[in-house]
């Protein structure tokens, strides 16, 4: 059934060459087992999971090797059976070149699974299901790797209007969602139905860019079948115009529903929730098959002779994948993600992680170094291209001049770092780098300010406490004096008219002191302006703080003076 869906539009966006055909010619292939799997414990937004295994231990395929730690965190699992060789610091798939704790597994080649059984989510409470998904390691596979269990929550109202499945896949070169939808449409929709039930969503809109006709056809057929089975036309596939970044969650929600979710707000407050199609598939695997997330589809493309999509176990070195695809001799870099938002890898030995939707091989010819940066001429091309309706050149001026307050006033944090502004800039200014710089500076200052606030509060409380102790002592002394006098008076005036006993006086003094203390405590407690951050934001800040600390550590040898 083709229901005509009214589409909305977002402003801005760009249309780079898509280069998607090269990797969609062949079906998904299973990547071969590498000699060793290096599985980073930290693969999602939020706290780093605690290691649950030690060197020398034997692990089964799908066995939990990292347990979720904190409110925002997600488990990680052994991608195959074998022996844990080490739990140690290894190079991470991040531009910073930092290392983090990884579990190194020597595969035994037997691929021996843990016992798998479907999870009865209908018989479980929502909390139990969410805990299950957290422990199954399901995170957003569009690239943001936000723990999915936190998003499968309808919020206060208990139900939503729309569940959006994001199959837009707007970045050039990347086709992992495309082929997944072509080959596993029915399973994706089963995952979507589970999410729909948990979210109480009235309808499911599946947004796919119209440059993927085969994926649209496959998903439409599957949606028809699913709707017939359910006897209810809840699922609808919608072809959306091809324009980067149509696959940004907020942009896709806007295109499909007309709702604009402001920065820092939960989309569920607006009755919408959005998941990537690959995440829906992962939820299907976790709940219907009892398999935790141990692999994903990865596009290998760019400067290779045979681009293709592979199902890759987490921990597989990117180099192994690149070698499968015949990289051309002038290849000089590996990028995780697409050419608009992807991260430059510090080496091709880094492992594939949950965020790795694409391993993009670059060359000086494919991605030439940008021409020399020229001054901004305020032509406004960036503003025309910005999908968040920002004035990027103003943010650039403020960031460059370190006027961070103004940058925030001009909505720096609404920037999604999609790269459209830098893509169109005739002066070739690396605009996004300026925003990244400004954001991290602001986060650092806020953290510093918070630490200073805490210290100041502690100091003020100490002063209060000392004052209180002094007063209490004085009160006690007074009470004792009064008591002594009363005793003396009582002794003097025989036992004829007892007016106030000494005990009463002492009690009164103590009550006064207690009241004083309560008041002092009340004054000591202050409202913190950073108190109402979402868990996501807190996690983001924590992650950035950790990265900063490590960068500082790394930079120390290069710095003559202490900063």
């Amino acid at each position: 059934m083709t229901v005509l869906q009214r589409l909305f539009s977002f402003n801005g966006g760009v249309k780079p060459a898509y280069n998607k055909e090269a990797s969609t010619g062949l079906p998904i292939a299973m990547a071969p087992m590498p000699a060793q799997l290096v599985i980073p414990l930290h693969q999602s937004i939020g706290g780093t999971p605690r290691p649950l295994v030690a060197a020398g231990e034997y692990v089964l395929k799908g066995q939990r090797i990292g347990g979720a730690d904190g409110d925002v965190s997600s488990a990680v699992h052994a991608s195959t059976s074998g022996t844990v060789v080490a739990v140690e610091m290894r190079l991470m798939p991040h531009t910073s070149g930092l290392s983090a704790r990884c579990v190194v597994i020597q595969p035994d080649g037997r691929e021996e699974w843990i016992p798998r059984q479907p999870f009865d989510y209908r018989g479980a409470t929502p909390e139990q299901t969410r805990d299950y998904l957290r422990d199954a390691g399901v995170v957003g596979l569009g690239g943001a790797v936000f723990p999915s269990y936190l998003k499968i929550n309808p919020g206060k109202s208990g139900k939503l209007d729309t569940l959006v499945l994001n199959g837009a896949e707007c970045e050039p070169f990347i086709t992992c969602d495309d082929v997944l939808m072509r080959e596993r449409a029915a399973s994706i929709l089963k995952g979507a139905l589970i999410m729909r039930e948990m979210l109480g969503a009235a309808r499911v809109l599946i947004g796919i860019e119209d440059n993927k006709p085969q994926a649209i056809a496959a998903m439409e057929a599957a949606a028809r079948a699913a709707n017939e089975e359910a006897g209810h036309p809840a699922m609808q596939v919608v072809a959306v115009p091809t324009r980067y970044p149509a696959g940004g969650a907020k942009q896709l929600i806007r295109v499909l529903t007309g709702i604009e979710v402001p920065h820092g707000k939960r989309s569920t407050d607006y009755g919408v929730q959005c998941f990537n199609v690959a995440t829906a598939y992962a939820i299907y695997e976790a709940i219907a098959l009892g398999q935790p997330l141990i692999s994903r589809i990865v596009t290998v493309a760019g400067n290779v002779a045979r681009a293709r999509n592979y199902e890759v176990l987490f921990g597989t070195p990117m180099r192994d994948l690149v070698d499968l695809c015949d990289p051309r001799p002038d290849s000089d870099r590996v990028i995780m993600g697409g050419p608009m938002m992807g991260l430059l890898m510090p080496a091709d030995s880094v492992p594939v992680v949950k965020a790795a939707n694409c391993v993009l091989v670059g060359s000086p010819k494919l991605f030439p170094a940008p021409p020399p940066e020229m001054p901004c001429i305020r032509c406004g091309e960036c503003a025309k291209a910005c999908p968040a309706d920002l004035q990027p050149f103003e943010l650039y001026w403020f960031s460059r001049a370190r006027i961070f307050g103004k940058a925030q006033e001009y909505h720096l944090f609404d920037c999604i770092e999609c790269g459209c502004c830098a893509y169109v800039c005739p002066s070739h200014i690396p605009l996004v780098d300026y925003y990244r710089f400004a954001k991290s500076e602001i986060w650092a200052r806020e953290t510093q300010k918070e630490a200073a606030d805490v210290a100041r509060e502690r100091y003020e409380f100490r002063l209060l406490r000392e004052e209180r102790d002094k007063q209490e002592k004085a009160a006690k002394l007074a009470a004792r004096t009064v008591a002594a006098r009363a005793t003396a008076a009582a002794a003097l005036a025989a036992a004829e008219k007892p007016v106030i006993t000494a005990a009463d006086v002492a009690k009164k003094a103590l009550i006064t002191a207690a009241l004083e203390r309560a008041r002092a405590q009340k004054a000591g407690v202050r409202q913190e302006n950073t108190g109402n951050l979402t868990p996501g934001q807190q996690a983001e800040i924590a992650a950035i703080e950790a990265r900063r600390a490590e960068i500082r550590e790394m930079a120390k040898p290069h710095l003559r003076q202490d900063d």
């Binding site: 977002f10 402003n11 760009v14 780079p16 060459a17 531009t95 050039p172 907020k250 806007r254 604009e260 979710v261 402001p262 920065h263 707000k265 870099r333 990028i335 993600g337 050419p339 608009m340 938002m341 992807g342 991260l343 430059l344 670059g362 991605f367 170094a369 940008p370 021409p371 020399p372 020229m374 001054p375 001429i377 305020r378 032509c379 406004g380 091309e381 503003a383 999908p387 968040a388 309706d389 920002l390 004035q391 050149f393 103003e394 006033e409 001009y410 909505h411 609404d414 790269g419 830098a422 893509y423 169109v424 800039c425 005739p426 002066s427 070739h428 690396p430 996004v432 780098d433 990244r436």
Partner: protein, 337 residues
């Protein structure tokens, strides 16, 4: 190696400036056709002066010469100066104006992208204040040949013989003379060299700039906001006063096609560096220029007011931009920022 994005659209400041120069060609062609090749000499003089001044300043400021000299921005300034000056102005007038524009109005403020005032208009305003006589001598259509123009530019030939007032000037001067019975129509009719819509020949130059400007719009180098707001603003205010007192105030069409209105609408008001940047800001900025232009044309001491109007509005740009920031994604329901 750089960070994402790794893809860049093939665009450059150079290609932007080059397309602006190309868009000026139709207007220049019409200019040459009606008024002789003197304008080409002026363009050449201004270009050489601009490039020399640019090179000097870049060298003094320690900037990469080739990169910035090749960006074409100095040439755009030079051409706009040549096109807004009389084509028979003496060579030193054009050259010193160009030097002023590039050295003072552009580089002393920080160079490309940093100048708060439109350099070409700074040059025009300074020169019309300093040399009002020389800046008001325009060749009449078909009245001079190239040799005479050459002599006017480089020689010391008495040039009064070959010049005449521009239509704008004629109308303004006549009306300022305060003869109770002078009317716009009367002035235009009494002077045979002034004909058509905006003066004989000038309307074709204006049409050439209009064509070039529309091409720039198609090329997405400029947006519709500024030209439309400027031309509509000029039309509106001129039309209103023309309706009130047709004898004293010229018709809108006359304003649109005389003086630098078309050049201004598409090439001067639209200067991105010194103009407003937000969509609403662009409308306000250009409408403000139009209003001031009309006021100066009608009541001021100078024949054309675009230069002063642009400079005055340049001052207001930071304020305009600040108050016209467009709503950001997700904050469109009037939520305070």
């Amino acid at each position: 190696m750089n960070n994402s994005p790794y893809l860049l659209q093939p665009a450059s400041v150079q290609s932007v400036m080059l397309r602006v120069l190309i868009a000026l060609l139709p207007g220049i062609a019409a200019y040459v056709w009606f008024f002789g090749a003197g304008i080409l000499v002026q363009i050449g003089l201004a270009s050489i002066a601009a490039l020399a001044a640019e090179a000097l300043m870049l060298a003094l400021r320690g900037k990469p010469l080739q990169l910035f000299l090749g960006d074409g921005s100095a040439l755009v300034t030079a051409w706009l100066i040549a096109l807004s000056f009389p084509s028979i102005a003496p060579w030193w007038l054009t050259v010193s104006a160009t030097l002023l524009a590039i050295i003072v109005a552009k580089h002393l403020y920080g160079g490309l992208g940093q100048n708060p005032f439109n350099p070409a208009m700074v040059a025009f305003a300074l020169m019309i204040v300093a040399y009002p006589q020389l800046m008001s001598q325009w060749p009449a259509a078909g009245a001079t040949d190239f040799a005479m123009q050459w002599q006017a530019i480089f020689g010391s030939r008495m040039i009064d013989a070959i010049t005449m007032a521009t239509p704008l000037d004629a109308v303004r001067t006549a009306l300022h003379a305060a003869h109770a019975n002078t009317t716009v129509a009367g002035v235009l009719a009494a002077n045979p060299a002034i004909g058509g819509i905006g003066g004989k020949g000038w309307e074709w130059v204006a049409a050439g700039h209009l064509a070039g400007g529309l091409w720039l719009l198609r090329q997405r180098i400029i947006t519709w906001h500024m030209p439309l707001a400027f031309l509509a603003g000029l039309c509106l205010v001129a039309g209103l006063f023309n309706l009130i007192d047709g004898a004293r105030f010229a018709a809108p069409l006359f304003h649109l096609f005389s003086g630098g209105a078309m050049l201004g609408a598409f090439f001067i008001v639209t200067d991105p560096v010194s103009g407003a940047t937000t969509p609403r800001g662009k409308l306000i900025f250009a409408a403000g220029v139009a209003l001031l232009t009309w006021i100066i044309r009608s009541f001021g001491a100078y024949p054309d007011g675009i230069a002063f109007a642009v400079l005055l509005m340049n001052i207001a740009v930071p304020l305009i931009d600040m108050y016209t920031q467009p709503p950001v994604f997700g904050h469109k329901d009037g939520e305070a920022r």
